[in-house]
Amino acid sequence: MLDKNGIAKRIAQEVQDGFYVNLGIGIPTLVANYVRDDIEVEFQSENGVLGMGPFPFEGEEDADIINAGKQTITTMPGASFFDSSMSFAMIRGKHVHLTILGAMEVAENGDIANWKIPGKMVKGMGGAMDLVASAENIIVAMMHTNKRGESKILKKCSLPLTGVGCVTKVVTNLAVLEVKNNQFYLLERAPGVSVEEIQNATEGTLIVDGEIPEMIL
């Protein structure tokens, strides 16, 4: 079974040379730490920066240079700053190649819910609705089940949706799933996790086709 860093590490393998990538808050942010350093990748943050670098050294934080998680950051050579309208031009115009974000629920038709629990929690969607409505390549990083052990990989989302039919891949603490033809296709198992465990933790239709390899991390 993977922890958060494990999930990030596995997702980092999906990042290809030449990709502009938008990382959501939480596990997705960790992905940057694991991207191969022999490929060229640039990170975009929807608050208005392209070419994000690592966190600053202590004492070098600049209140005017943050990411969408409101964390202090640095920039790489070749970086640029821009306004919100241009930032979402990058996203809506499909110039960002890969979006990695967290979710509360994902459904077998590619629906995703991650912004609201009616009557309880309403943080808002931030840029997520724009990202999922536009990106062609959306990977969700999430836990396979909630704290009560209930599946978050569903036939149908129960929470208010963030976007419809948009998720292409899900990486959880248990598995890598592809979302296709209204089904989840099991691609890989997390180290030490059996197909049966994944089946038990998955409410949505799960297709297990042939031998399922264990992830190589």
Binding site: E46, E61, A63, I73, S84
Partner: protein, 233 residues
């Protein structure tokens, strides 16, 4: 050169009344119009509608107006990290309209640029699209979103001049340029008001035509919400 300079925040906020709709720049606490917000608290205008990506934190930014119960309605994309906000929203004291971030930016830009409405894919098939016109273009579905209408826009820039020209710094830029000229009156506060002619015309982010009043801001706190650092190795 048309002179937009006013002497202080009091002058800059003349005409402010209860019941008005405001736009306020900033992302989290980054690039917020600190001076204008402080003055709005002092003026104690009430029943406000505020368009701003976030609602500040409990004791800073728009959180100050929330604590003082001056806000009737918030239009934002993300409102976490604010307990008083959550309390007022869940109790029904505060009306909240959540709008996707890119849609929020473009509703400002549409108002600035004279577009009445626009089609965006964001929010299609979700609560956000309920009651709104939707339409297919090239096999993809879009939601029609109207431009914002506001009385005042409060923005914060890094440098500016008396002609109203603005330059922003880093990610403190965010929504600020998109809100300039998107309200009846745009009030810009700047960290540094420089002599006219000092800003390179090539590097001006917002030409003065979009700004009605500009003033030299004071006592910027520029709080950091999430101070993240790495160790020197």
């Amino acid at each position: 050169m048309i002179n937009k300079k006013v002497n202080n925040v009091e002058e800059a906020l003349q005409g402010i009344k209860s019941g008005m709709t405001f736009m306020l720049g900033g992302f989290g606490l980054c690039g917020i119009p600190e001076n204008a917000i402080a003055e709005l608290v002092k003026l104690n205008v009430r029943e406000l509608t505020c368009i701003s990506n976030n609602a500040g934190v409990d004791d800073f930014g728009l959180g100050l107006l929330l604590q003082n119960k001056q806000i009737k309605k918030m239009i934002s994309s993300y409102v976490g990290e604010n307990d008083e906000f959550e309390r007022q929203m869940l109790s029904g004291e505060l009306e909240v309209e959540l709008t996707p971030q890119g849609t929020l930016a473009e509703k400002c830009r549409a108002a600035q640029a004279g577009f009445p409405a626009f089609y965006t894919p964001a929010g299609y098939g979700t609560e956000v699209a309920e009651g709104k016109e939707t339409r297919e273009f090239d096999g993809k579905m879009y939601v029609l979103e109207p431009a914002f209408k506001a009385d005042f826009a409060f923005v914060k820039a890094w440098k500016g001049d008396a002609a109203g020209n603005l330059i922003f710094k880093g990610t403190a830029r965010n929504f600020n340029p998109n809100m300039c000229g998107a309200a009846t009156i745009t009030v810009a506060e700047v960290e540094e008001l420089v002599p006219v002619g000092q800003l390179d015309p090539n590097n001006v982010h917002i030409p003065g035509i979009f700004v009605q009043r500009i003033f030299q801001g004071k006592n910027y706190e520029k709080r950091i919400e999430q101070r993240t650092v790495r160790q020197r190795s």
